[in-house]
């Protein structure tokens, strides 16, 4: 148990370094401004957003296609499925010896329950990028 926690201690050290390295790079780059290695000459054109050479126009919170939202909802549904299927997959070798075919059919029932709404969403046209519900 102690060993198990020690591993996560090393992982925390690793995570801190993984954050520190890019921040350090940015910091070195930033500090180079003060010793006049890195130029800094901003002007109005340079500081405007680059939209292929045209001056930026239009409302600033940009409106975008609603289609992205459908994919996000579908993602939530099926990502939960993967979370539930992982433990079963890891222990399947043990389970199939212990319970035989019941372990298999239990998961097939679950897969069936998940697949039905998938087919429903497909038939309704929610998987299409070009939305065309006539």
């Amino acid at each position: 148990m102690e060993d198990y926690l020690l591993q996560y201690g090393v992982l925390v050290v690793y995570a801190l370094l993984a954050i520190a390295v890019p921040i350090g790079m940015l910091l070195i780059s930033y500090l180079a401004t003060f010793i006049k290695i890195r130029p800094s000459k901003p002007n109005e054109v340079k500081l405007s957003a680059y939209e292929s050479g045209l001056p930026p126009f239009g409302p600033k919170p940009v409106m975008f296609n609603f289609r992205y939202y459908y994919y996000a909802i579908l993602f939530v549904v099926f990502d939960v499925e993967t979370v539930l299927i992982f433990p079963w997959a890891v222990k399947y070798g043990v389970l199939s010896k212990q319970f035989g075919l019941i372990a298999m059919f239990a998961m097939f029932v679950f897969l069936f329950i998940v697949t039905v709404p998938f087919i429903y969403a497909w038939r309704k046209g929610d998987l299409e990028w070009i939305y065309n519900r006539n």
């Binding site: 591993q7 992982l11 957003a49 975008f64 993967t82 298999m104």
Partner: protein, 422 residues
């Protein structure tokens, strides 16, 4: 302290610092600089040094891989590639890294300053974290988590967040479109990516990557061809590589969410992208090509390196061979193609394991042949099916406004001024 005994680098540093009997006694003379009460200090120092070595190794590998890939692109296009700095141009990417560090840094006025600076850090963090659980050789890893594969999947999904933050903080409409596209692709491909690993988990019975390597009597690419194909395509999409790199579709979006990034921030995005490529090939090499396992002619680290470079070469080959796909094609491939393939893979593997719970090596070869036949048939069927659904889509297109623009000829009525006013 099992962890110290298993992890060679960690054990070497730790035992040189504090020579305790329980973990260092079985072989070798270690220095033992610190007195015996300071195990915690030795633990911290050796953990830090181990992580430091690892991260520096990753940075070095990225610098080398950028040079190597550019050389390969050159050879694919029948030119010589970068060849000026150092022998065969090895130092080209080093020079690039130093140059990009001292370029002028421009932050646009519309940008959200804090998020704009946060995004590159958030982008590179998950990529570094992926490497922490990958065993590079026998006993060479940072940590061997018992949930390693799940950890990788969890951590890589952070990169989607980084892309959204980068695109939104730029305050640039082109960046936002690119970021939203990227997220749609990233989250769509996460599902086939996770489900394609289920077959591997069933065969190995563990989530630890070291355990998966040890469980491979024959490489899992033979037993799980369908899983390999799906995982390879999904990881190409996750790391924004061609043919799925529409976030950086130059003809439509400029550089995508990188439009307003300059100087070291751009450099870090660049680093993250190439490090992600190495990370993806490392995961594929570990999970499907038996990682550090190989005949004992060569040391385990070299075997891992060879496999990693093979997968990296395959990714470069794919990049040079295929054109970029449209967003609807990419999303349809994920939902209508790969998702079904993973379900087929899960069902086939489940049935196979129920028939033979503990197969010998010979039985595994028979399983491999059956799996390959099923793989090729299901790939053909699904590709025919996908092709049909794409054609259906185009027949629908005639009745609606063409979107994305440019896939149809612009009708003359669109140019009519009256129509435009209405």
């Amino acid at each position: 302290m099992d962890m110290i005994v298993e992890n060679n680098i960690f054990r070497f540093i730790y035992c040189n610092l504090v020579n305790t009997n329980e973990s260092c006694s079985d072989f070798g003379n270690f220095l033992g600089i610190l007195p015996l009460g300071f195990e915690w200090l030795a633990f911290l120092i050796s953990g830090f040094l181990l992580c430091f070595i690892y991260i520096n190794g990753i940075l070095g590998a990225v610098i080398l891989s950028i040079w190597g890939e550019r050389r390969l692109y050159g050879r694919f296009q029948n030119r010589s590639g970068p060849n000026r700095w150092g022998p065969m141009g090895v130092f080209t990417s080093t020079a690039d890294a130093i140059k990009v560090m001292f370029k002028e840094d421009v932050v646009p006025v519309d940008a959200d300053k804090f998020l704009f600076n946060l995004a590159p850090v958030l982008m590179v963090f998950p990529v570094f974290m992926v490497f922490s659980v990958i065993p590079v050789g026998i006993g060479t890893f940072v940590v061997d988590l018992n949930v390693g594969l799940l950890f990788i999947l969890a951590v890589t999904s952070l990169s989607g967040l980084a892309v959204v933050i980068a695109s939104w903080a730029s305050g640039n409409r082109i960046s936002i479109f690119s970021g939203l596209r990227a997220v749609a692709v990233l989250i769509s491909y996460e599902i086939p990516m996770a489900l394609s690993l289920v077959g591997v988990l069933m065969l190995s019975g563990t989530l630890s990557l070291n355990g998966i390597v040890e469980a491979q009597k024959i490489p899992f690419i033979l037993l799980q061809p369908l899983g390999f194909v799906v995982f390879f395509l999904a990881s190409l999409a996750e790391i924004n590589r061609t043919p799925f790199d529409l976030t950086e579709a130059e003809s439509e979006l400029g550089a995508g969410y990188l439009n307003d990034y300059s100087s070291m921030k751009f450099g870090i995005f660049f680093l993250a992208e190439f490090a992600a490529t190495i990370g993806a090939s490392a995961v594929i090499a570990t999970v499907f090509l038996a990682g550090w396992k190989g005949p004992e002619i060569l040391p385990s680290h070299i075997w891992f390196g060879i496999k990693l470079i093979l997968v990296l070469g395959l990714i470069v080959w794919v990049r040079m061979s295929w054109p970029r796909m449209r967003i609807d094609q990419i999303l349809h491939l994920a939902w209508k193609g790969l998702f079904e393939l993973t379900l087929i893979n899960i069902i086939v593997t489940t049935i196979m394991i129920s028939i033979k719970p503990d197969p010998s090596v010979n039985e595994m070869w028979i399983m491999a042949i059956i799996n390959w036949v099923i793989c090729i048939f299901s790939l053909i069927i699904v590709s025919k099916f996908l092709n049909r659904s794409v054609k259906d889509n185009f027949s629908n297109l005639k009745n609606t406004t063409p979107y994305p623009v440019g896939t149809e000829k612009i009708k003359s009525s669109f140019i009519n001024k009256k129509e435009m006013v209405n």
